[in-house]
């Protein structure tokens, strides 16, 4: 906590933390969840087409709808969850100790509750739906704070763009890739250890080469030859031959070690290439899934702002005149339909 600025928690009129406060709380919860390895979730909520409702029915109706959604959110969440308001009338909620299942269940409930609220504006029955973007931090997740936040924002935007009245849970690819990287690092370490265990201790300084079996055999052969022939020059020749033979032996061994090392390096490189490819595949799959979800969103449609048939209001300008005109339109259509059915 010492690294964070001090914030005086003063909930807003709606009973929500301010944007600064909720971000601070989210940061604290995020760090705590990372430190102690428990799951947490960040949820961004927006009322669908709120600006449109604002334009149609004015500021008061917009506020009433927001209050209704906040009330529904309060009823759906626990006391230990934090709710805050963000810019653009978005609501942010932080859910510590909440698994993916818990969060999706909360989101489903919240969508249903919001859908069921019957808002009234000047006697009209309005319907408001919400879009929810969820970002979850898994146990032991390595995702950074910025990614955690932006994932929730992206998910919210995606839910809104897909027609609203839905939640979208997005999991950053960071953790998945991090897990793969860790596996690769462990595999590389294992290969290095294997290699080390299989290699003999080799000295490469030819000035101080240890005596080998080949060297001993050659020396014995030359000794026997010197005793037989008694030639003093044979001793010099012996040294030269032994040195050359041992050098050739060391070179051959070094080449073998190098070949084995290259082979292992290639294996590591190949694994790293596979990780890169998997990451690319993951990104592509994620994009495709978003596209599919977008298409699905189009099919599921965008909710009307009206729950029931509205009808002309008594206090409408030129009420009598319009009522008469609407009756005439209806009668003409009824006549048309009867003619058609006949």
């Amino acid at each position: 906590m010492s690294g964070f600025p001090t914030v005086n928690f003063s909930e807003t009129d709606e009973g929500l933390f301010t944007p600064t406060e909720i971000r601070h709380l989210m940061r604290v919860e995020y760090d705590r969840a990372r430190r102690y390895g428990y799951p947490a979730a960040l949820v961004m909520i927006a009322v669908d087409r709120l600006e449109y409702l604002h334009d149609l029915y004015g500021w008061e109706s917009k506020e009433e709808i927001l209050q209704g959604v906040i009330k529904a959110l309060r009823a759906t969440t626990r006391d230990s969850d934090f709710l805050g308001c963000m810019q653009d009338d978005h609501i942010m909620a932080v859910f510590p100790h909440s698994s993916e299942e818990t969060i999706t269940s909360i989101a489903t409930r919240l969508l249903r509750v919001c859908r069921d609220i019957d808002f009234r504006s000047d006697g009209r029955s309005l319907r408001a739906t919400v879009s929810i973007g969820i970002s979850t931090l898994k146990q032991g997740g390595k995702e950074d704070f910025a990614a955690f936040l932006s994932t929730a924002e992206e998910a919210l935007e995606f839910a809104s763009r897909s027609g609203g009245d839905r939640y979208v849970r997005r999991e950053s690819a960071t953790d998945v890739i991090e897990e793969l990287r860790q596996d690769i690092a462990e595999e590389a370490q294992r290969l290095v250890e294997e290699q080390t265990a299989s290699e003999p201790a080799v000295a490469v300084d030819f000035g101080d080469m240890p005596e080998t079996e080949l060297g001993r055999s050659l020396r014995e052969l030359f000794n026997e030859h010197a005793h037989t022939h008694g030639t003093p020059g044979i001793l010099g020749l012996e040294e030269d031959v032994v040195r050359v033979a041992e050098h050739a032996l060391f070179v051959a061994r070094e080449e073998a070690v190098q070949a084995a090392s290259t082979e292992r390096k290639e294996q590591v490189d190949q694994l790293e290439r596979r990780v890169a490819k998997l990451k690319e595949l993951l990104d592509t799959t994620e994009t495709e899934l978003l596209e599919v979800a977008r298409m699905k969103g189009i099919e599921s449609g965008v909710a009307s702002i009206y729950r029931t048939v509205q009808g002309l209001r008594d206090d409408e300008a030129a009420f009598g005149q319009k009522k008469e005109m609407l009756s005439l339109i209806f009668e003409a259509n009824l006549k048309l339909q009867k003619r058609r059915d006949a």
Binding site: G301, A303, S304
Partner: protein
């Protein structure tokens, strides 16, 4: 609302089913427009190539050579809509049905919502046409009503008393006199000197002035939509048209201006008829409350040209162009749908 469907929302739609484009405004905030072209792949090969059973709007125009290509509305009404008159009837009805379904799909209705639509029909559409439009719409909506297009425009803007509405589409120019009640047949005039007429005139003038130029009606329409104006000082309309296969630049400013101006006299003549048969006490007020709507109203300087012609022929006149020519009809139809009482909708289900 009954108990079993009280959880359903009601999606209202206003549809302006036009010869050139179909616009939709819905109560979920969505407004869309699609060019009124429908195409079906000619054969299995083109179907495989296009990967679709039916294409709409610009996409259909782009691939029209591989398609059985339909513009289901002509002069503002369904082509050959009197059964038995033409072999094309079934195909045109099918194309119109698909076009209406596409317009409704563009408004993204939810499956669990009731869809109530008001469709703007040409002011003097024949009964067979109206039936055909209703047939086309009923497949995709829960309840549908038709209303006169110019009336929808005026209703949407709350101009209900002593107003003359000019709704210029591609197929027809609808003139409608509003005087506080539902306009009757005598309050409405439909002219054929609309967008397609301008295209035809423009084509003839180009052919006359530049006989070597090669062009199609689609190309002419594209040029018109880009440069159309009746103003004396207008943007130069210089375009490339092929001459024996070689793109060649032509200055079509004068032919285009002339073609566009040819639609003004019939409109003012029609307005004159509607004014002349109105209560003399209110004729002055009527002439000074003229609403210009529809895609054709986007021709630059048209409001001023009509106003000048009115001054010349009728002594006075004030023409106001609506803010959203493309969606004026659809917005008005949406407002009618919204204001319509519950039991009216229920009875037409």
């Amino acid at each position: 609302m009954t108990e079993e469907n009280k959880d359903h929302g009601v999606l209202y739609m206003g549809i302006d089913l036009g010869t050139s484009r179909t616009s939709v405004s819905a109560s979920n905030g969505i407004r869309e427009t699609v060019a009124s072209y429908v195409g079906y792949p000619k054969d299995v090969v083109s179907q495989k190539l296009l990967k679709k059973d039916v294409l709409f709007g610009a996409e259909a125009v782009k691939h029209r050579l591989s398609l059985r290509f339909y513009r289901p509305l002509e002069h503002g009404v369904l082509k050959s809509s009197e059964k038995g008159k033409s072999g094309d009837y079934e195909e045109n009805v099918r194309a119109a049905q698909d076009l209406i379904a596409e317009a409704i799909r563009l408004a993204k209705p939810r499956k669990d919502e009731l869809v109530y639509a008001v469709i703007g029909a040409p002011a003097q559409a024949q009964i067979h046409n109206k039936e055909a439009i209703i047939d086309a719409a009923r497949a995709t909506v829960d309840s549908v009503m038709l209303c006169s297009e110019p009336f929808a425009v005026a209703y949407g803007l709350d101009w209900l008393d002593d107003v003359l509405v000019i709704d210029i589409g591609a197929g027809t120019v609808d003139l409608c006199r509003m005087h506080g009640t539902m306009p009757e047949d005598t309050d409405q005039i439909t002219l054929n000197t609309a967008g397609d007429f301008v295209d035809q005139q423009f084509s003839e003038l180009i052919a006359e002035k530049h006989p070597e130029a090669q062009f199609t009606i689609q190309m002419v329409r594209g040029i018109k939509e880009r440069f159309a104006s009746v103003a004396a000082e207008m943007e130069k309309c210089v375009v490339d048209l092929p001459v024996k296969g070689k793109p060649t630049s032509f200055d079509l400013t004068d032919p285009l201006r002339e073609a566009c101006r040819r639609m003004v006299p019939p409109i003012v003549e029609g307005l004159g008829q509607l004014v002349a048969t109105f209560d003399p006490e209110f004729q002055g007020r009527l002439k000074n409350r003229v609403l210009l709507a529809g895609g054709g109203s986007m021709i630059k300087g048209l409001d001023s040209a009509i106003q000048e012609e009115m001054h010349a022929r009728l002594g006075e006149g004030t023409v106001v162009r609506i803010e959203e020519p493309i969606y004026g009809g659809a917005n008005g139809a949406l407002k009618i749908a919204h204001d319509m009482p519950t039991d009216f909708w229920e009875q037409l289900k």
